[in-house]
C-alpha cells in the first residue's frame, strides 16, 4: 500500500481541471498524516458522490466507495459507524451535496458524525455539461437557465454552521499547500468537518481571474471557537473573500455516543 500509487485508471477530467489540484493536495495530506502517525494508511477510506469530483475514487489506490448521487454523506456515516477506527473522507460536489443530498448534510452536521466532507464547489453541474446548482449565483446563465438563474444560492458555510457543524473551513482548489493544510486539520478534528473547496471549472465556469486578487486568509488573531463571530465572518461581503478555518469546537461525535452511550 502506497499513498502515491495509482489504480492505473485513465484520468478523464478535462486537461488542466482543478480537480487534479485537489487530488494532489489530498495525497499530500494523507502522506503527511501517515508520516506524523496521525492516521494509518490502511484505515483511510475515501468516498465520493456522483459528478466530476466523483472520479477521484477511481484514481487513488485507497480503500474507496463510489456512492450514489447525493447519498455520499449517510454512506460515510455508515462506514464510520461500522468501523470507528477508519478515517473517513468524502468528496462531493455542490450539486451532489447541496442539491440532491442537502438534507443528509444538515443531519450529519447536527449529529456531529466524525467524518470529513470536502465539497468541490465549482458552482454548477459540470459532468452533466453546465446547469445551475443550489450554489450557482443568481443570474447564472447555464444550459437550463439561458436567461439567468432565478434562485438565490445557499451560503454553504452559513448553512452548515446553522446545522451544527463542528469544523467549518474554506479553501481554494489551486492553493494546494493551503488545501492540504486544511484537509489535515479537518482529519485531526474529531466530529463533523466541512471544507468548502472553491473550485474554478475551467470548462463551464472559469472563475480563476475573478478570484485572483479577491482572496484573503483569516489571520492568527481570528478566534475559531466563537460561533457568533463565525456566523458573521462567513457572511462577510467585502472586496475580498475570507479563506481558512472559520469555526472549530469539540463535542462528542455521533459514533462515540452510539458505541459508548450517553454520559
Amino acid at each position: 500500500m502506497n499513498f502515491n500509487s495509482s489504480t492505473q485508471a485513465k484520468i478523464t477530467w478535462c486537461p488542466g481541471c482543478t480537480n487534479s489540484a485537489i487530488l494532489i493536495a489530498f495525497r499530500q495530506a494523507v502522506s503527511e498524516l501517515v508520516e506524523e502517525q496521525k492516521v494509518e494508511l490502511k484505515n483511510v477510506v475515501i468516498l465520493s458522490g456522483i459528478g466530476c469530483h466523483g472520479k477521484i475514487t477511481d484514481y487513488v489506490n485507497f480503500n474507496s466507495f463510489t456512492s450514489l448521487h447525493g447519498r455520499l454523506v449517510p454512506t460515510m456515516t455508515g462506514v464510520k459507524i461500522g468501523n470507528p477506527s477508519l478515517s473517513v473522507f468524502g468528496f462531493s460536489g455542490d450539486g451532489d451535496t447541496f442539491d440532491e443530498g442537502v438534507a443528509h448534510l444538515a443531519h450529519a452536521a447536527r449529529r456531529n458524525s466524525d467524518i470529513n466532507l470536502f465539497i468541490h464547489n465549482n458552482q454548477l453541474f459540470a459532468l452533466t455539461t453546465g446547469q445551475a446548482t443550489a450554489l450557482s449565483p443568481k443570474g447564472f446563465k447555464g444550459r437550463s437557465t439561458p436567461e439567468g438563474n432565478l434562485e438565490e444560492p445557499f451560503n454553504p458555510l452559513l448553512f452548515v454552521l446553522g446545522a451544527g457543524a463542528s469544523f467549518v473551513a474554506r479553501t481554494y482548489a489551486l492553493d494546494i499547500p493551503g488545501t492540504k493544510d486544511i484537509m489535515k486539520k479537518a482529519a485531526e478534528h474529531k466530529g463533523f468537518s466541512f471544507v468548502e473547496i472553491v473550485q474554478p471549472c475551467i470548462t463551464f465556469f472559469d472563475t480563476r481571474e475573478a478570484l485572483k486578487d479577491k482572496r484573503y486568509f483569516l489571520d492568527e488573531t481570528y478566534p475559531t471557537n466563537n460561533l457568533s463571530i463565525a456566523l458573521e465572518k462567513v457572511q462577510e461581503q467585502g472586496e475580498k473573500i475570507p479563506f481558512g478555518i472559520f469555526y472549530e469546537n469539540q463535542r462528542p461525535s455521533f459514533e462515540e455516543l452510539l458505541h459508548n452511550g450517553l454520559k
Binding site: A9, V45, K55, I81, H107
Partner: protein, 578 residues
C-alpha cells in the same frame, strides 16, 4: 360445508377508543390463554389516530392450532357504547357483552347476555388510570372461561412493571369476583375445550423476525419510523443492549439504506426495515446493493397503498413491486413468511443468504402478521442457527480484486482496515478491482458474474422450504397463496368437506419453478387467494410456469381475510365447476 362453526373455538373482541386500553386486553388475554395451554391468534385493528377513534383486539383460541382469528364474536368487551354498535353485525345468538353500561334498548335486546361490568367505577375507586380498567375485564373473562386466576396474575406479572402490577391485579380480582358473585355462567359448553399443554409462547412476527436476525449475527438495525414496520424497530431498540446490537434512526429512508450500505462495506451485518412508501424512496440505493454486491437484509412490511394508503391496515399489494424493484437487472432473494414461526426462520435465513451471496435480500411481510400475536414455538437456542459468513477473507494478495471473477460468481470479500488490502466498491459498472468501466466487454462480464450467483442460489432450493404443502397432497384441487394469507387459508380449511391441497409459495425470487409446476401441473382446479386487487401471485405463476390460474379470491378492502367467509367463497368456487 363441514361445520357451520367450530365448537372448540372461542373469539373475544375487546374494543374502545384509542388510548383506553382495549387493545392491551387482547395481548394480556393471549398471554393468559397460552399459559393455560391454549392455542391463540390475536389481531389488532386500529386507525391512524393516537387518541379517540375506534380500535379493537380480536382473539380466537382453541385446543387445536388457530392459524387466524375469526370475526364471529363469542365475548365482546366494550369500553364504550360505540363498540357495541360497531360490532353487532358479528354477534351470534350466544354472544356475551361486557360493558360499563347499556342502553335500555340494548338490555331488552340482549337480556342476560348484556353483563354490566363496572370497569370505570373500579378503576376510579383505585385511583387508577382508565387504561387499567381493562384489567377488570380480564378478571371477568377469566371467570367466564373458568380459567385460573393465578395464571392471570402470572400473565399480568409478565407485562406490568412492579409499580403498576399491584393495582392491575386488584382490578382483575374485582372483575373476577363481580361475575362470581352474580353467578354468571358462560352458557356454552365450555368444558369441551380442554387445554392441552404444549409449552408454547405468544409470538409476534416482528419480534421473531428480529430474534431470527439476531441469532444469525445481526450487528446493526437501521430504520426510519413507518407503520407497520416500526414494531421491529421498537422491539430491537428496547432490547439492543441484551441482544448486542446497535440501532440507528436516521433522517429518512434514503439515509437509512445508504448508511446501511456503508456499514456493510465495513463487514458488519446490517438490516433495515420499512413499508412500501419507504422502500419506494430507497429504490436507487437498492439497485446499488445489487450492483455493488453489498450484503443487505431488508424487512418490507406491507401496508395498503398507493401513496400514503391506509397506513394501519393490511395488504399484499407490493409483491410485484418488490420483485421488480430497483432499476436495472440484478439478482435478489425475496422470501415471504406466513406466520411468526416462519418469520423467525426468514430473519435468520435472510441475513445468512445476504452474506453468503453478497446481494440484497427482502423479507416480505405485512401488517397482519407484523402486528398480530399467535401461540407458537421458536428455537431460541443460538447453537441451532448457523451464522453463514460467506466468502469472507482476512488476508489477500496486494492485487486483491473485490469483484474477482469466480466460477460461482461470488468474490472473496475483505473489509477496509482489516489488512493492507485495498477494497474498492463502486455504484458505476466496474472492473474486477472496482474501478469504473464503460468498456462493453467488461460490462457483459460483470453482469454475467452477478447473475452467475443465481445458479448457486437455486441450489438452496434443496435445503430450504421454497414452497410448503398442507392438506391432502394427492388432491387435484389446489389452493395457492403466499405470506400472511396462510393463516386465513389454513383456518378456512377446517370448514371444507372436500379434500384440497394447499400450496404456500415462500420463496418468490428466485422462484422454484420445478416445485410449483410439480404441485400445479396436474391440478383440475386451482384457486389463487391473495390480499390484493390484481392477483399478483397468479401473474407471477403464469410468468414463471405458463399456468393461467382462472379462479381467484382477492381481497383489497385492507382488512385481513376472515376464515369463515373465505371458506364460503372457496366452497362457491369448488361447487361452480362441479
Amino acid at each position: 360445508m363441514k361445520n357451520e362453526k367450530q365448537n372448540n373455538l372461542i373469539t373475544i373482541v375487546s374494543g374502545g377508543a384509542a388510548g383506553d386500553g382495549a387493545r392491551s386486553v387482547g395481548g394480556n388475554l393471549a398471554r393468559l390463554l397460552v399459559k393455560e395451554g391454549f392455542e391463540v391468534f390475536e389481531s389488532v385493528d386500529y386507525p391512524s389516530i393516537i387518541r379517540g377513534g375506534h380500535n379493537f383486539a380480536r382473539l380466537s383460541f382453541s385446543n387445536q392450532r388457530v392459524y387466524n382469528d375469526h370475526s364471529l364474536i363469542n365475548i365482546l368487551i366494550a369500553f364504550n357504547q360505540e363498540t357495541i354498535q360497531l360490532h353487532r353485525d358479528k354477534f351470534t345468538s350466544e354472544t356475551i357483552i361486557l360493558a360499563n353500561d347499556f342502553t335500555g334498548e340494548e338490555i331488552s335486546e340482549f337480556g342476560a347476555r348484556a353483563i354490566k361490568l363496572p370497569m370505570e367505577i373500579y378503576a376510579n375507586k383505585e385511583n387508577a388510570p382508565m387504561i387499567a380498567s381493562g384489567s377488570v375485564a380480564l378478571g371477568a373473562v377469566c371467570f367466564l372461561l373458568n380459567l385460573s386466576f393465578e395464571k392471570l396474575e402470572e400473565a399480568l406479572n409478565d407485562v406490568f412493571q412492579e409499580k403498576h402490577l399491584a393495582v392491575n391485579v386488584v382490578l382483575a380480582k374485582q372483575g373476577y369476583q363481580y361475575l362470581k358473585e352474580k353467578q354468571i355462567i358462560y352458557p356454552r359448553n365450555f368444558e369441551s375445550i380442554q387445554p392441552i399443554q404444549q409449552n408454547k409462547e405468544v409470538l409476534n412476527a416482528s419480534e421473531t423476525f428480529g430474534q431470527g436476525m439476531v441469532q444469525a449475527g445481526l450487528d446493526y438495525y437501521v430504520a426510519y419510523p413507518m407503520t407497520p414496520a416500526s414494531p421491529i424497530l421498537h422491539f430491537l431498540a428496547k432490547q439492543n443492549v441484551s441482544l448486542g446490537i446497535k440501532i440507528v434512526q436516521p433522517e429518512s429512508e434514503l439515509s437509512v439504506i445508504n448508511m446501511a450500505l456503508g456499514i456493510a462495506y465495513t463487514g458488519k451485518r446490517v438490516a433495515i426495515g420499512t413499508s412500501g412508501g419507504g422502500f419506494a424512496l430507497m429504490q436507487e440505493s437498492f439497485s446499488f446493493a445489487g450492483m455493488g454486491e453489498i450484503p443487505l437484509l431488508i424487512a418490507m412490511v406491507q401496508r395498503p397503498a398507493p401513496a400514503s394508503g391506509v397506513p394501519t391496515y393490511t395488504s399484499q399489494a407490493d409483491l410485484l413491486f418488490i420483485l421488480n424493484s430497483g432499476h436495472g437487472e440484478f439478482p435478489r432473494i425475496v422470501i415471504a413468511p406466513g406466520d411468526a414461526e416462519e418469520a423467525f426462520q426468514a430473519g435468520a435465513d435472510g441475513l445468512n443468504l445476504a452474506w453468503k451471496y453478497q446481494l440484497p435480500v427482502i423479507v416480505l411481510t405485512d401488517k397482519h402478521i407484523g402486528e398480530s400475536a399467535q401461540s407458537g414455538q421458536i428455537n431460541k437456542n443460538k447453537t441451532n442457527i448457523n451464522i453463514e459468513k460467506g466468502k469472507i477473507v482476512f488476508e489477500a494478495n496486494t492485487d486483491y480484486k473485490r469483484y474477482e471473477i469466480t466460477d460461482d460468481g461470488i468474490s472473496p470479500m475483505i473489509f477496509p482496515g482489516v489488512s493492507d488490502i485495498i477494497v474498492k466498491v463502486n455504484s458505476y459498472e466496474h472492473n474486477e478491482k472496482g474501478v469504473t468501466t464503460e468498456n462493453a466487454k467488461d460490462v457483459v462480464v460483470m453482469q454475467d458474474k452477478r447473475f452467475a450467483k443465481l445458479v448457486e442460489i437455486k441450489k438452496e432450493f434443496e435445503i430450504r422450504d421454497t414452497v410448503k404443502i398442507y392438506g391432502d397432497v394427492t388432491s387435484k384441487t389446489v389452493v395457492v397463496f403466499w405470506g400472511s394469507t396462510k393463516g386465513a387459508v389454513l383456518e378456512a380449511a377446517k370448514y371444507l368437506a372436500q379434500s384440497v391441497k394447499f400450496l404456500q409459495i415462500v420463496w418468490l425470487e428466485p422462484f422454484d419453478v420445478e416445485a410449483v409446476l410439480f404441485h400445479l401441473q396436474d391440478a383440475d382446479m386451482i384457486i389463487d387467494i391473495e390480499g390484493n386487487h390484481d392477483g399478483q401471485l397468479a401473474k407471477l405463476i403464469r410468468q414463471k410456469t405458463g399456468i393461467d390460474i382462472k379462479q381467484k379470491i382477492l381481497k383489497y378492502d385492507t382488512r385481513p381475510f376472515d376464515p369463515f367467509e373465505l371458506a364460503k367463497e372457496i366452497i362457491i368456487l369448488l361447487e361452480s365447476v362441479k
